[in-house]
């Protein structure tokens, strides 16, 4: 059965935080609803679990890849065109540092950008249900549930003192 989304809109952060309890009591699982806000709130302010992410992995992988490519390029060049200078070793580490540094950061920056986009699931082609009042300070509780549970969730949101409930397609009920 297809999932549907319902958005409850609250004009007060405290009311919205209390409404999450009403949703849980109505049988909605923690992972089935999300809180939409116009500014970041302290972690756990809405009783949510600490959101997990893997953003830190992206720059690490990127940096390792960038460093590897830079080392291959510099070491490979030195080995391919050996030039003995003053009897020093062919593979000279100091001569590789700047290129290694740049390669590392090139990989790290590019992968961080990709990581933010991927982890935030951006771009999202579809915004529904959403309400512009969220960027004005309203709080949205976005519930995703099966079609048959939509009415139950809507009632729970209203019991939680939502000032408005919006279904998919941005239709105000």
């Amino acid at each position: 059965m297809a999932n549907k989304s319902v958005l409850g809109l609250f004009d007060n952060a405290d009311t919205a935080a209390d409404a999450t309890d009403v949703l849980l009591e109505a049988g909605c699982a923690q992972e089935d609803f999300d809180v939409l806000t116009g500014s970041p709130y302290p972690e756990g302010a809405f009783g949510e679990k600490n959101p997990k992410h893997h953003i830190y992995v992206f720059p690490l992988v990127g940096a390792l890849m960038g460093l590897s490519v830079a080392l291959l390029l510099t070491a490979g060049t030195q080995l391919a065109y050996p030039m003995v200078t003053g009897g020093k070793p062919i593979l000279a580490f100091p001569a590789m540092t700047i290129i290694g540094y740049e390669g590392t950061l090139l990989g790290a920056v590019i992968f961080t950008i990709l990581g933010i986009i991927f982890e935030s699931r951006l771009p999202r082609p579809k915004l529904d249900p959403y309400d512009p009042r969220i960027t004005e300070g309203y709080i949205g509780l976005l519930v995703t549930c099966t079609e048959e549970k939509v009415d139950v969730m809507e009632q729970a949101l209203r019991r939680g003192k939502a000032v408005d409930v919006i279904h998919e397609k941005g239709r105000a009920l």
Partner: protein
């Protein structure tokens, strides 16, 4: 005029989240006629600069001396504008809450990076190959600085723009939510479908912190590459290990100064007065004072080594860059980057004003320009960079008409890019302001009102 010694009043923005959003978006939609008038004047000045550049270009790249002031303009804009992004990055790292109204003002300088990058391109033809002269590139091919410096600056620009873009996404979503027609469509695409879920906030904040960290470590290395490849390695006998660090310190100092001056202009000419208050000026003025002292310390460390050694090569460098050939720009840089701002900002009551930091910052920005002159103009006046040291000092290169056109056009171009970028990205970070509102309250403490700040982390 003597001002009484009293603490800076705790500023508290008495606005709701809705009022902030509407106010910032309204001013973003219609910046006013004065904005476009200034933009037109700047475009005209940039046009003059382009004429100067074409005249310079028509003479070719062989006469390096002719490109000295062009290189200075490039270095000056890079030093001040690219480092200015760091103000937002650093203050966000240390969780300084007073940064919130000025975060975007600082981040917007990342857009100037595009202009700086364009300015770098002609210099790549002017810069001689490293073959046969001292450089940090060992035995790599002679065009190594051309390739790797371009890559490094390009990467810095990309990192800065990514930081600006991601930090602006929530504000662009706010514009999307309140605009209509083509403007709404444009911001719908730019906001990438941002909803503001807790997951998105968390990832955005982590991402911004990471990009900020990378920007910081990239900036340091780009300062090193630009200062060594485009100045120091061109002057025979100039082997100063402290110079790249001094260059970076100059960048930080001018970045703080540039941010203060921009804040002051915005306060003076726009309705942003309500967001930018004495708190921000006071906070940055302390940094500016510390950096002015560091300017002296780093200059002294470099100078003292040369002065103490007194080898012929060292003596000729001191004469060339400080005490004979380029004495005037050196004295002006010394007075305007260290002595004057120190004398102004050492007084606490001056630091707590808005005019005091603004005056000192304006002076520092002029001083930084003379500081760039005394490094980059001499470097490009050397005909043979492969010499062991400077046996005879080349004459001073004073600016001609073309040089002045390029300087004016270059600086006007950088300001123009900044102003145009402020039309794309809202100049106030509303989401950070709103987050700040959430975390602060005014409470009564006996007979005074104080600001109480929550620190959830």
């Amino acid at each position: 005029m003597h001002e009484p010694h009293h603490p800076v009043q705790a500023s508290y923005l008495r606005m709701t989240a809705q009022e902030i959003t509407q106010d910032v978006i309204q001013r973003h939609e219609s910046p006013g006629r004065q904005f476009w008038m200034v933009t037109s004047v700047l475009a005209g000045l940039l046009g003059l600069g382009i004429i100067g550049f074409i005249i310079l270009l028509s003479k070719g790249f062989e006469d390096r001396n002719a490109w000295g002031y062009y290189a200075t303009t490039f270095a000056y804009i890079f030093t001040a504008a690219q480092s200015a992004v760091l103000i937002s990055v650093a203050l966000r790292m240390v969780k300084a809450h007073w940064r919130r109204p000025i975060a975007r003002i600082s981040e917007l300088f990342a857009a100037v990076g595009l202009f700086t990058f364009l300015l770098l391109i002609p210099l790549l033809w002017v810069l001689p190959v490293t073959t046969g002269r001292r450089s940090i590139w060992f035995e790599w091919p002679g065009h190594s600085p051309h390739l790797w410096d371009t890559l490094a600056l390009g990467l810095l620009v990309v990192c800065g723009l990514a930081l600006l873009y991601f930090a602006s996404i929530p504000d662009m979503a706010a514009v999307r939510d309140h605009a209509t027609g083509a403007r709404q469509n444009r911001y719908r695409r730019m906001a990438l479908g941002w909803q503001g879920s807790l997951h998105q906030w968390k990832k955005l904040q982590v991402g911004i912190s990471l990009l900020g960290g990378f920007y910081f470590i990239l900036l340091i290395v780009v300062h090193m590459l630009i200062s060594v490849d485009f100045a120091m390695s061109l002057v025979p006998g100039w082997k100063d290990a402290i110079f790249p660090a001094f260059h970076a310190i100059t960048g930080f100092q001018s970045a703080v100064a540039l941010t203060i001056v921009t804040m002051s202009i915005l306060r003076w000419k726009t309705s942003l007065r309500r967001y930018i208050e004495a708190d921000q000026f006071w906070g940055l003025s302390k940094l500016l004072l510390a950096l002015s002292l560091l300017w002296f310390y780093f200059w002294w460390s470099g100078f003292f080594t040369y002065w103490y050694g007194r080898q012929p090569a060292e003596q000729s460098i001191l004469k060339f860059l400080m005490f004979e050939t380029y004495k005037v720009p050196f004295i002006l840089a010394f007075l305007l980057c260290f002595v004057t701002p120190f004398v102004i900002l050492m007084w606490n009551f001056v630091r707590k004003t808005i005019w005091g930091p603004t005056l000192a910052a304006s002076i520092v920005l002029v001083g930084t320009f003379f500081n760039a002159i005394r490094f980059y103009v001499p470097a490009y006046s050397i005909e043979d960079s492969s010499l062991h040291f400077l046996e005879t000092l080349p004459p001073a290169n004073t600016p001609g008409g073309v040089d002045i056109l390029i300087i004016i056009g270059g600086i006007a171009g950088a300001v123009l890019v900044y102003m145009l970028a402020s039309r794309v990205f809202p100049i106030v970070s509303t989401w950070e302001l709103k987050e700040g509102l959430l975390l602060q309250r005014v409470r009564k403490l006996m007979k005074i009102q104080i600001k109480v700040l929550a620190k959830p982390e």
